[in-house]
Amino acid sequence: MTKKKVTAKVLSQKKIGPDIYDLWMSTELAETARPGQFVCVYPKDKSALLGRPISICEVIPTESMMRLVYRKVGKGTSEFATLNTGDTVELLGNLGNGFPADLAKGKKVFLIGGGVGIPPMVQLAKTIQGEKQIIVGYRNSETFLDKDLDRRGELYIATEDGSLGTKGNVMDAIRENKLTADMIFACGPMPMLRAIKKYAEEAGIPAYISLEEHMACGIGACLGCVVKTTKKDPHSHVNNTRICTEGPVFEAQEVEI
């Protein structure tokens, strides 16, 4: 499971939503990646030096294929959006702990994704066997990855403008469809994760949430990407733990968000 910086080869890339890109690459990192882990992707433009942390959407380990689905938001991701078949790209991976998929055995689970938090749910849904209710939230009917997820479990969609599925957010979809679960796995914007944390606490069920933060190194050295924790963590000895190393996935009650 050693971390490596590698040169990956682009197999294909297409735009699959508003500023949402679907990138398949050939890289050895695909062989050992776990769901919920991430890679840092480096821009070629040397004025933008930091790796961009992007969650792994899907892997086909036997073919050394890795899929990233990301939103074009700034200088780095705008460059990535121009990658074509045959191009190379530098990756650092595999980073972070990933989702504890083993714990889902025999459990009825929610897989919840909001916006660009949806991609890691694809590999997680592939990994977890058993009863899966997948709840995803979008801004509007311009959805992405819903077809990939639909065949892996019961899919529920929420849209902010109500143009598809439940009008509102993922929590509204859970309420409207009267869904229940024993365990939650989630990735998405902070307000969504806060709502899930509260919901899980009230329901008395564990929720594993994936966090993000600006980071410089991705390997636990810079201490840039910390989150406040309820207990002192064994690395920092203060109530601040590293999202890139001890995370990005935390049990919701262990972090103060």
């Binding site: 050693t2 971390k3 910086k5 480096y42 040397k46 004025s47 933008a48 030096l49 930091l50 790796g51 650092l92 933060e213 600006h214 980071m215 410089a216 190194c217 390997i219 636990g220 050295a221 810079c222 201490l223 840039g224 990407c225 910390v226 989150v227 690395h235 920092s236 000895h237 203060v238 109530n239 601040n240 190393t245």
Partner: protein
């Protein structure tokens, strides 16, 4: 070819060290580089008690570099001595512990605890721009720098390096103050205070509003300051600021540095330290340099 250099009686196998705060205590980089190859590991700053650091966001990218406002999060000297020193002892490299504090007494407490530990040198951080008390407060006034240097020198069993801030009017004056008060060496530059505003959200990019700028964009400023400091003092200088490859390192040495530190480059590329060492050797081979010491201050 000889790549070893000497600072205050301590011999380093090569002049390449790690910039404090960019390399932890080496554990995270052991997966990428052979720590035995480094001249020294300079640790992340450690205080007498654990420090939680600043709120997030702590990191922002800027053109050709980055801003950080970590706020010297550290587990405190007791954990450090139990965990980090034994880890570093396993390697054939020199250990330089970076010491931070809010008051002179804080620094002295750490320095005294390290007195009988297998630590080769101490680097005294009087230049972190991201904490409200201590640190840079000692590094921006000549008198304060002299006072803390003299006081630490009284208690330190290892040679001390005063790490200077570039956020001063006259770096030569600060270097002289450190030397006069008994510093065995100086290191520079720490980060330059900067600011970034997210115009889309009308907010500061960093929770701390300001942060320390590092990365290749600051290199020319750092080279200039090393040159000025080298002409102001006789004690050795460890130069740093944007070093990414062997050529950058050579540039600092020609400006007057005896050794160099690789900092932010570790974040962009975890193999950076080894690449800098290889690049220096390549340069020496190319120009037939037998002894690296002949490059120190070669351009004056």
């Amino acid at each position: 070819m000889n790549t070893s250099v000497k600072i205050a009686g301590v011999k380093f196998k090569n002049p390449v060290m790690t910039g404090s705060g960019t390399f932890g205590s080496g554990m995270e980089y052991g997966e990428f580089v052979d720590l035995n190859k480094l001249g020294a590991v300079v640790t992340k700053g450690v205080a007498n008690v654990p420090w939680p650091g600043n709120p997030t966001p702590r990191i922002a990218e800027v053109y050709g570099g980055m801003l950080n406002a970590i706020g010297l999060q550290n587990p405190g000297i007791d954990v450090f001595m139990e965990r980090d020193i034994p880890f570093l002892q396993q390697y054939d490299t020199k250990v330089i512990v970076n010491v931070c504090g809010k008051s002179i007494a804080d620094y002295v407490e750490v320095v005294e605890k390290l007195a009988d530990k297998p630590v080769d040198m101490l680097e005294i951080n009087v230049s972190c721009p991201n904490v409200k008390e201590g640190a840079i407060a000692f590094g921006q006034k000549k008198e304060a720098l002299e006072e803390i240097t003299a006081e630490i020198k009284k208690h330190a069993k290892q040679p001390i390096i005063m790490k200077l801030s570039p956020n001063v009017t006259d770096i030569g004056e600060m270097a002289k103050a450190a030397e006069a008060a008994g510093a065995d060496a100086i290191s520079l530059i720490n980060t330059l205070t900067g600011m970034k505003i997210d115009i889309h959200r009308r907010k500061f990019a960093l929770a701390n509003k300001t942060g320390g700028m590092s990365g290749p964009a600051i290199k020319p400023i750092a080279v200039r300051m090393v040159y000025q400091a080298a002409h102001a003092v006789n004690i050795p200088i460890i130069g740093m600021g944007g070093i990414c490859n062997g050529e950058d390192a050579i540039e600092f040495m020609m400006a007057g540095a005896t050794a160099v530190s690789v900092g932010a480059a570790n974040f962009f590329d975890p193999y950076s330290t080894e690449k800098v060492i290889a690049g220096i050797e390549e340069y020496m081979t190319k120009y037939g340099v037998e002894d690296i010491n002949e490059l120190i201050g070669a351009v004056s």
